[in-house]
């Protein structure tokens, strides 16, 4: 396979305080190819959002710290860049969209100003050119009345429109990688369908790779080429999207699939995973899922399983899977 666009190697992001060390991301490896859509799935607190913030080097300071690993973007380690070089990267080569566009957009600047300042900063355009390009981009992402909307403020737009504006901002420099953290979670289903469709269209036309963080397996089925399932700061399964739905191997992935009600078939009782996620300040020494796993053996509690390849391109962190 060709050299990946992004290669995360043994990344560890910890939150350190006097009393505890919270291992939010604890040694993950993820590859993203050019033009690929990779979905990272997992429940609250599994480290998926912290992974995306680590790539952008936006881990909350001073507590949060990337303590180990490499993030190779086009072969260059992002963690070795100076703050200035990283700042050149953000918005230009790698950009990010967030769950709640209202908190990510500046409430006191017009939409036009916010989009055009990216072009002024990264592409050295003057304001006039940048505004023209902003209007063009807004039209491309399907914002109606683009000429008027550049003079409006975020609060004047609906949730779906705000998310389109965020996408326009993120894509305006044609980045090679777009990180989308729960981009449609706050949106209604009909609007979600519009936004997902738009993201696929952007990928097809510009070849931008997308890392999509989500807890919604439906969205994964809709978007992903490749799926990474995270649990308690680790990758537990990593595989092509088709396989994950047909032959999920890790007991956690299988439990997740069985926990969700279906639109098309009747289930009498939903499977529910007993217990709760272990605290990131105090992980057990064996498998982190063992305590909740229906298949757990005594050995699972002693020895932490490694992520292994069980079939070509199919990685699973479970010693029981053959």
């Amino acid at each position: 396979m060709a050299e990946p666009l992004l290669a995360i190697r043994d990344l560890k992001t910890y939150f350190v305080s006097k009393h505890a060390e919270v291992r939010a991301v604890d040694g993950i490896d993820i590859d993203v190819q050019k033009g690929q859509i990779v979905c990272i799935v997992g429940e609250s607190g599994c480290g998926k959002s912290m992974t995306s913030l680590s790539i952008m080097r936006l881990v909350p300071k001073p507590r949060g710290k990337i303590v180990n690993g490499e993030i190779l973007f086009n072969g260059k380690d992002l963690l070795k860049l100076s703050d200035r070089q990283m700042s050149d990267m953000r918005g230009s080569e790698i950009s990010m969209i967030f769950q709640e566009p209202m908190t990510a957009l500046n409430p006191v600047l017009t939409i036009g100003t916010q989009i055009s300042e990216i072009l002024v900063r990264h592409r050295g355009m003057n304001k006039r050119q940048a505004l023209d390009k902003a209007v063009e981009m807004l039209k491309f992402v399907g914002v109606p009345r683009a000429n008027e909307i550049i003079h409006e403020f975020p609060h004047q737009l609906s949730g779906g429109l705000r998310q389109r504006v965020m996408i326009a901002m993120a894509m305006i420099c044609e980045p090679k990688l777009l990180i989308a953290d729960e981009p449609t979670t706050a949106l209604d289903v009909t609007i979600q369908a519009q936004v997902l469709e738009l993201m696929k269209k952007m990928r097809d036309e510009t070849g931008t790779a997308i890392i999509m963080i989500t807890h919604d397996l439906g969205v994964v089925a809709d978007m992903a080429d490749h799926v990474v399932v995270m649990y308690a700061g680790q990758v537990v399964e990593s595989v092509a999207a088709d396989t994950v739905f047909e032959q999920p191997k890790h007991p956690y992935t299988r439990a997740l699939m069985d926990s969700i009600p279906s639109l098309e078939e009747d289930k009498d009782v939903l499977y529910s995973i007993p217990g709760t996620v272990p605290s990131a300040a105090n992980f057990p020494k064996g498998c982190r899922f063992a305590e909740r796993c229906p298949l757990a053996q005594p050995s699972c509690f002693d020895k932490a399983p490694e992520l292994r390849e069980v079939a070509p391109g199919h990685l699973v962190r479970c010693d029981l899977v053959s």
Binding site: E43, S44, P144, S158, G159, G160, L161, D188, V189, T190, I191, Q192, A193, Q194, L196, E197, H215, D216, L217, G218, V219, V220, A221, D222, F245, A255, L256, M257, S259, I260, P261, S262, L263, E264, E265, D266, K267, V269, L270, Y271, S272, I273, T276
Partner: protein, 322 residues
């Protein structure tokens, strides 16, 4: 005893829009605009719809947390639309509510026991000591420990807090529980635990639910019947098997096709609606959905469609039918 635990007839809620120095009413937001349905004992009616369709306002009016502008609400055959004081308290013995955010709906300064016992003491059903004994029993019923009675809400996880909210709603042995997005804030593995609990309780106590949610798969799982709301109107209502297999209203069809589903058996063509929901302050004439409907006809722009029974107990308000 009435044939229905809940009857809602032509219910309306208009919120005034006030402006100017004298706060004159300049218009109305028609949050709910003539909704009728009923719920039999032991039945679950799911209400689905997107933000702003009026589903939550409907639930709040049934609990009389807001006063209806027009229409009628009968709980167990008694008209409570304008009930006050003792009569209103009496109605709340029959109908209780479970909210989306259990943390916001539990008093942080009251122990779990006090929160659950309070309705019993306020309604003079039991003495203080007996009320606490009952609270302990209820904790047991919802899968928590009896000893949790002295603990405080912050000591519990989100799923456990939702169990406390359910225990409190059960305290007065209601016949109806209004659950507004009761599982929406929870992770999928916790969500399935709460859904299973709600279904067990339903069988154990012959409860009826009005289950309000934006999640179509969850609603399908828990409901016997489903009502679809759009812009303050109920546009379709039918038994779940009939409604999910043969959705009649173009809005229901679009909603079902837009909802992402991990394992789609039947390949449905995805209908992507254009634009946003119109403002309920200035609703369109005729059918409320005509501005986004892919199958709009001339008559839709001027005339409001009447409900037509198409299948047994399955009606739709659309000019394409009838």
């Amino acid at each position: 005893m009435s044939q229905y635990v809940l009857e809602v007839k032509d219910l309306k809620k208009y919120f005034p829009i006030r402006s100017g120095v004298f706060k004159r009413t300049v218009g109305h937001v028609r949050a709910v605009d003539g909704v009728s349905f009923d719920v039999k004992p032991g039945e679950t009616l799911g209400i689905v719809g997107e933000s702003g369709c009026g589903k939550s306002t409907t639930g709040r009016m049934i609990m009389r947390l807001t006063t209806p502008t027009d229409g009628k609400i009968l709980i167990d055959g008694k008209d409570i639309t304008h009930a006050k004081g003792a009569a209103l308290r009496e109605s709340r013995r029959h109908a209780q509510m479970v909210f989306q955010d259990p943390y916001a709906s539990l008093n942080p300064k009251m122990s779990v026991g006090e929160s659950i016992a309070e309705p019993l003491i306020v309604n003079k059903v039991l003495s203080r000591d007996d009320a606490f004994e009952r609270a302990a029993q209820l904790l047991d019923t919802v899968g928590l420990r009896r000893t949790d009675i002295t603990r405080f809400p912050h000591e519990f996880s989100g799923g456990q807090r939702q169990r406390i909210g359910i225990a409190r709603a059960l305290a007065l042995n209601p016949k109806l529980i209004v659950a507004d997005e009761a599982v929406s804030a929870l992770d999928v593995s916790i969500q399935s635990q709460i859904l299973n609990l709600l279904m067990d309780l339903k069988h154990e106590f012959n409860l009826a639910y009005l289950f309000i949610s934006h999640n179509l798969a969850v609603v399908r799982h828990i409901s016997d019947r489903v009502g679809v709301m759009y812009l303050g109107h109920m546009v379709e209502n039918g038994p779940k098997s009939s409604l999910y297999a043969d959705p009649l209203h173009p809005y229901t069809q679009a909603l079902l096709s837009a909802a992402p589903e991990p394992r789609r058996v039947k390949r449905r063509e995805r209908i992507i609606l254009q634009g946003d929901v119109p403002s309920p302050a200035n609703p369109p004439t005729g059918c409320p959905f005509h501005t986004r409907c892919p199958r709009v006809m001339d008559v839709c722009r001027s005339q409001m469609p009447k409900p037509v029974m198409v299948h047994p107990e399955h009606w739709v308000a659309c000019h394409l039918h009838g």
